[in-house]
């Protein structure tokens, strides 16, 4: 059976060339980059060069502003908990949004529950956008940190981050953005955006799992989250994951070189999918904006039916998709993001996310458009809520 992977928002295949670039670090240049001998120095050269690749992708001012982590979650934890703990003498109020990834929400909840911080969770509109007036209105005397994601991983909504950073700067609020869904997929310029911190993760753009980075603007203070050795400018202990870091560097370079094509390719397929679904399936609800959304993200609610049942049927046809985010599958609660944009519980349970990647083709889209309508109809026919 033909297998079509449309869950690139969850994770992507590692590019074979990235893997090739990583291989010497496993078996030849296997030294610890903190060691002064030649094995270590070889590894250090590789890590330094990857750091520059990351720097260039996001236009950071210097490679020292890049802190390697074990992924997007750790980058978010370091940013949110690290900046909160470092700033707690100035104040204990944090601003975030209701539709952040759990890797931001859970650190915030932890700070609230265990460490006496106050967190404002900003609402979003029906498209999933945080409004600048709400943002400004939430800033208080003791606000030290704001974290608003660049793009939502479920419904693909892009946020007007630049507006927030201007307001944050005016009030001396450190601003973090979770750009895990954006980095490597859309052009990104931390200077232009004006963010203080930005999280990314290699496996979301054809790099390896288990490695990511936090951009930390020079001068911004955070406490380490991984307490240990003196690595990463004393901000992140633990022996460097040299192959992973080299893989991240490789995909950053690759993303820079292929960015324009990639965006164009994904947007074309995305719009084909969205329009095709709307044409072929009655009663659909597109989640997120039609245009200001991630180039590879398609997200619908199909009334009367349940998401997992759609996924299982798609899987039986060889199509890998998701409903909500991968890390919450297994949980029974409907997506906080869909509830956040005002969907009812019933609708929230009936959602489908198709996320495109660089390997997808027009044929893939056509195949989905061929099988999905039947699946939805079959499930509707089974549903006690459907009356047609």
């Amino acid at each position: 059976m033909k297998r079509i992977y449309l869950d690139n928002g969850a994770t992507t295949p590692t590019h074979p060339e990235a893997l090739k670039a990583m291989e010497p670090l496993f078996t030849q240049k296997y030294g610890n980059p903190s060691s002064i001998h030649s094995f270590g120095q070889e590894a250090k050269v590789a890590v330094d060069s990857a750091r520059e690749d990351v720097q260039k992708l996001i236009n950071a001012r210097s490679p020292e502003e890049i802190i390697f982590t074990s992924g997007g979650t750790e980058a978010n934890n370091l940013a949110v908990i690290g900046a909160a703990m470092a700033g707690k003498k100035r104040g204990k109020h944090i601003i975030t949004s209701k539709i952040e990834h759990h890797a931001v929400l859970h650190p915030c909840e932890y700070l609230e529950k265990e460490l006496d911080f106050q967190v404002t969770y900003l609402p979003v509109d029906e498209k999933g956008r945080v409004h600048i007036d709400d943002f400004k209105g939430a800033i208080k005397e003791d606000t030290i940190l704001a974290s608003i994601m660049m793009a939502n991983n479920e419904i693909g909504t892009l946020q007007p981050v630049k507006e927030f950073t201007v307001a944050a700067r005016e009030s001396d609020v450190v601003f973090h953005t979770d750009a895990v869904q954006v980095a490597g997929t859309m052009p990104l310029d931390v200077q232009e955006l004006g963010v203080d911190m930005l999280s990314m993760s290699a496996h979301k753009f054809n790099g390896p799992n288990g490695v990511g980075a936090l951009y930390l603007r020079k001068g911004v203070k955070v406490h380490p989250h991984m307490h240990g050795g003196g690595q990463e400018n004393k901000l992140r202990g633990s022996t460097h994951n040299t192959p992973g870091i080299v893989g991240l560097g490789w995909v950053c370079r690759y993303a820079r070189e292929t960015m324009d094509e990639k965006v164009k390719h994904l947007e074309e397929l995305r719009d084909m999918l969205i329009e095709g679904i709307e044409e072929r399936i009655p009663e659909t609800i597109l989640n997120g904006p039609r245009r200001e959304r991630l180039p590879g993200n398609v997200h619908f609610c199909f009334p009367y039916i349940e998401g997992e049942a759609i996924l299982l049927n798609l899987d039986l046809k060889g199509i890998a998709a998701s409903s909500g985010s991968a890390c919450t599958s297994g949980s029974l609660a409907p997506s906080h993001v869909l509830l956040g944009i005002g969907r009812s519980h019933e609708l929230a349970h009936g959602s489908l996310r198709l996320t495109l990647g660089i390997d997808n083709t027009q044929e893939d889209v056509e195949y989905v458009l061929q099988v999905l309508p039947e699946i939805v109809q079959k499930l509707r026919d089974m549903s006690p809520l459907y009356n047609k």
Binding site: I305, E306, A309, S344, H345, E346, M382, P384
Partner: protein, 127 residues
């Protein structure tokens, strides 16, 4: 994730659909928790003569609905009332722990449909 039996019932659900003039009927669950099950039965000689289900829910919800209809068709009402959640899950070669609540739903729906039948019958006899 799911056993072959679950996937079999999910892909080829038995006794799925609406029923004209059911003798007993029930709907359990609610959209908040993501599962709704509807069961309709026809009863003859105290036995379940016909049964149909409709389900809004995950793979486990569909499969347990389908399985329970197959298990009780032709059984006496007492036998059907004796079907436990555990029995349904076992008949499906088990369910993932996070999905165990779905088997509760199927048994609950069945039992409620039988009770509805009894209520109606009592109503008729009394009326």
């Amino acid at each position: 994730m799911y056993s072959d039996k679950v996937m079999d019932h999910f892909t080829n659900p038995r006794n799925m659909g609406k029923m004209e003039n059911p003798h007993g009927e029930s709907q359990v669950g609610n959209p908040t928790c993501g599962d709704i099950m509807k069961i309709a039965i026809k009863v003859e000689d105290n036995r379940i003569k016909d049964i149909k289900f409709q389900t809004f829910g995950c793979g486990a919800a569909v499969a347990t609905s389908s399985m329970i209809t197959e298990m009780v068709k032709g059984k006496t009402l007492d036998e059907a009332m004796g079907i436990s959640n555990k029995a349904v899950a076992e008949a499906l070669d088990g369910l993932p722990p996070v999905k165990m609540h779905c088997s509760n739903l199927a048994a609950e729906a069945l039992h409620k449909a039988i009770e509805d039948y009894k209520q109606r019958k009592k109503g008729k006899e009394e009326g």
